[in-house]
Symmetry: C2
Subunit: 394 residues, 2 copies
């Protein structure tokens, strides 16, 4: 198989619309350079650089020592659904019945199930452009059409109720927003989110809010959309705040009348989420774990507070201060009109890996780079120094 | 939320066709009886009653002790793809390039990806009736139509090339077969599978072969469809032979030109399969693990060899001896014309939980029960005794 394989004889048409991650090209080149002995600072990585918290690891070890790892209920372990409900009560002071919580294979699994029960072929889902690339594909798999609305720094890279209202049409089924968002790190103001929820409900649609970066907000606490309405679908995950990406565990909160439908879909498509991950996650809400995570959150904040002014000083455009996640979405138009080529150039010449805008949408990707601060402060300092000399020598 | 929730305001039409598992009704009643102090023999369970093998557990413990559990490559850990390739060489003497192997979230994930790249809305996939219930839903989610072909004991509950050829139509994209199958435990003869592969290829379609029950065959070894053709898609899993259901790990082998498409879909829908499970599964092919599993296989065979004649003697119709899996699909028409009601009656009066036929299709479900021997021999003996007195008293 050294030859390039032929194209598939029979390929579902949807696959033509489903894009690969272009960032993988950068990553592959970064790995090749590393294999050749070059030092690379990785700022393209969309996951925390922290270990899974010890209490979670220890609980996993206790469970695996027992040996029995059967399927769980499709909706997830009752104890975990209750723990998540308690987390809403403690952290957000919002009451969420455990019966409304569906444990899933990451936020990814939650988004697939949500689109599965909500979107008919030919229907549209409104979302921001730029946004998390996979959003578009969950909708396309269901035969729906992602409708990406250009947003920029004027609205902190977030859609507004006014924008969604203007684009809501006959065929619109739902709106999908994320706060904080990937790739921009910005949040939707709680009052605006309330207007969005009201608008979507008034139009007979469903609002899906991706809260995966909750817990990673700096200088303020995120408020959940569940405080605004119990008609929204809320997606969350153990991947980011809880540092559990590789465990593949998340959850979905839905209005009660959808739970049976979500259960059917989960039974059939997944059987259940990982039992090991579910058992381990029972320790994710313990005070010792939360203490640890809050310390890491402060570290992320310190990284942002170092990196943002440093990049501005180098000439990157960063007109808004993102409140959360671990990304900066930087305008590099001063240096290049092709962020993909520029990212490769930075990689080759400065040894810093960044993600070009093109994975995130069609709205000005060529002038943006996503810069993740998922690496230590010394590494960030090194990256800034490397960028400084690279830009000076250009 | 004590009231029954209203029906969802907006529900995708596909959900009307997606059925819940009716077996859950039996299971819920079984749990209620147990909670009330009744002893129940569980023969409705579709997973092995064995622990995950020690070497796998120990490898998981070593990995979690290290603490770093990041996302893996979308196609899976290279070392695991290589280990699976070696398994094909050692066990089947078939060469499968690791590049053709996609690690997935169980056979479930493999089936979703396969249908995602193969089936367009409106296209059909041919399969046996009865068959594994979720098969129909992977196709429906993609907008396709499962076309279920009634099969019975005459063809050992399996489709033939002749049957598939007769039903192959303009809109047929693929055929999906399982050998050994759920709920019947029967296999497709290797020569017949060759004829099926040739037929499907001649018609311009794709054959998907679910080999999840390989390793659990009694008195013979299953041969993989990959020995017949490299145009087939082969689904497999760590769930059954490897006793790893709750880890959610499986794999898909595809023709090389589909791998890039499968990778795109996996990136977008799953990011990657569980890292913990992938690391643990590296120990699944070790000689010590295989020795253990072969012992368990002999135990399953002993259970089948006990249960089959015992049920025949009680008057259940079991005209064919299934070669594999851990199910008997028994005709109960002598006792009842409604296997669902009969299963509930057996549960209440004999304390034995069985799965009524209706989850598996439309072809004579009302006269069949799936009886799983996923419980110890003493339990099987107890169940037979209970059934004997129940039937005598009826
Ligand atoms: C906005 C957003 N949503 C969802 C996901 C999916 O994450 P997971 O499936 O690991 O929970 C990601 C991952 O990067 C993300 O950035
Ligand atoms: C025939 C068949 N295929 C696929 C599956 C899915 O199993 P898993 O996703 O655990 O690998 C099952 C589970 O019972 C099955 O019986």
């Amino acid at each position: 198989m050294t030859d390039r394989p032929a194209s598939p004889a029979r390929l579902a048409a949807r696959m033509r619309a489903i894009e690969p991650f272009h960032a993988m090209d950068v990553l592959a080149r970064a790995h090749a350079l590393e294999a050749a002995g070059r030092s690379i600072v990785h700022m393209e990585v969309g996951e925390p650089d922290f270990e899974t918290p010890r209490p979670v690891l220890e609980r996993a070890a206790r469970v695996t020592a027992k040996g029995s790892v059967p399927y769980t209920q499709a909706l997830g372990l009752p104890a975990l659904r209750e723990a998540i409900a308690r987390f809403y009560a403690e952290r957000y002071h919002v009451e969420v019945a455990p019966e409304r919580i569906v444990v899933t294979a990451g936020a990814s699994g939650a988004l697939l199930l949500a689109m599965g029960v909500l979107v008919n072929p030919g229907e549209e889902v409104l979302m921001a452009d730029p946004c998390y690339p996979c959003n578009r594909q969950f909708i396309r798999v269901m035969g729906g059409e992602p409708r990406c609305l250009p947003v920029g720094p004027e609205t902190r890279w977030q859609p507004t109720a006014e924008l969604l209202g203007r684009h809501w049409g006959e065929r619109t089924a739902a709106a999908l927003v994320a706060s904080p968002a990937n790739p921009t790190g910005t949040m939707i103001d709680h009052a605006e989110l309330g207007r969005i929820a009201a608008l979507v409900e008034a139009r007979g649609g469903v609002l899906v809010v991706d809260e995966i970066y909750h817990g990673l907000t700096y200088g303020l606490d995120a408020r959940t959309a569940l405080a605004l309405s119990d008609r929204v679908f809320v997606v969350n995950s153990f991947s980011k705040y809880f540092d559990m990406t590789g465990w593949r565990l998340g959850w979905l909160v839905a209005p009660p009348e959808y739970v049976r439908e979500l259960e059917k879909l989960q039974q059939n498509l997944f059987i259940c989420p990982s039992t090991v991950a579910q058992q381990a996650a029972l320790a994710a809400f313990e005070p010792a774990t939360i203490d640890l995570l809050e310390g890491r959150r402060r570290e992320f904040q310190a990284r942002r507070d170092f990196l943002l002014p440093a990049l501005r000083e180098l000439g990157f455009g960063l007109p808004v201060v993102p409140e959360g996640a671990f990304y900066l979405y930087a305008d590099c138009a001063r240096f290049s009109s092709d962020s993909f080529a520029f990212a490769l150039e930075i990689l080759e010449r400065a040894g810093v890996a960044l993600t070009p805008g093109r994975d995130f949408g069609q709205h000005l990707p060529e002038r943006h780079l996503r810069i993740a601060y998922t690496t230590s402060r010394p590494n960030l300092e090194l990256a800034v120094e490397r960028l400084r000399s690279f830009l000076a020598s250009r």
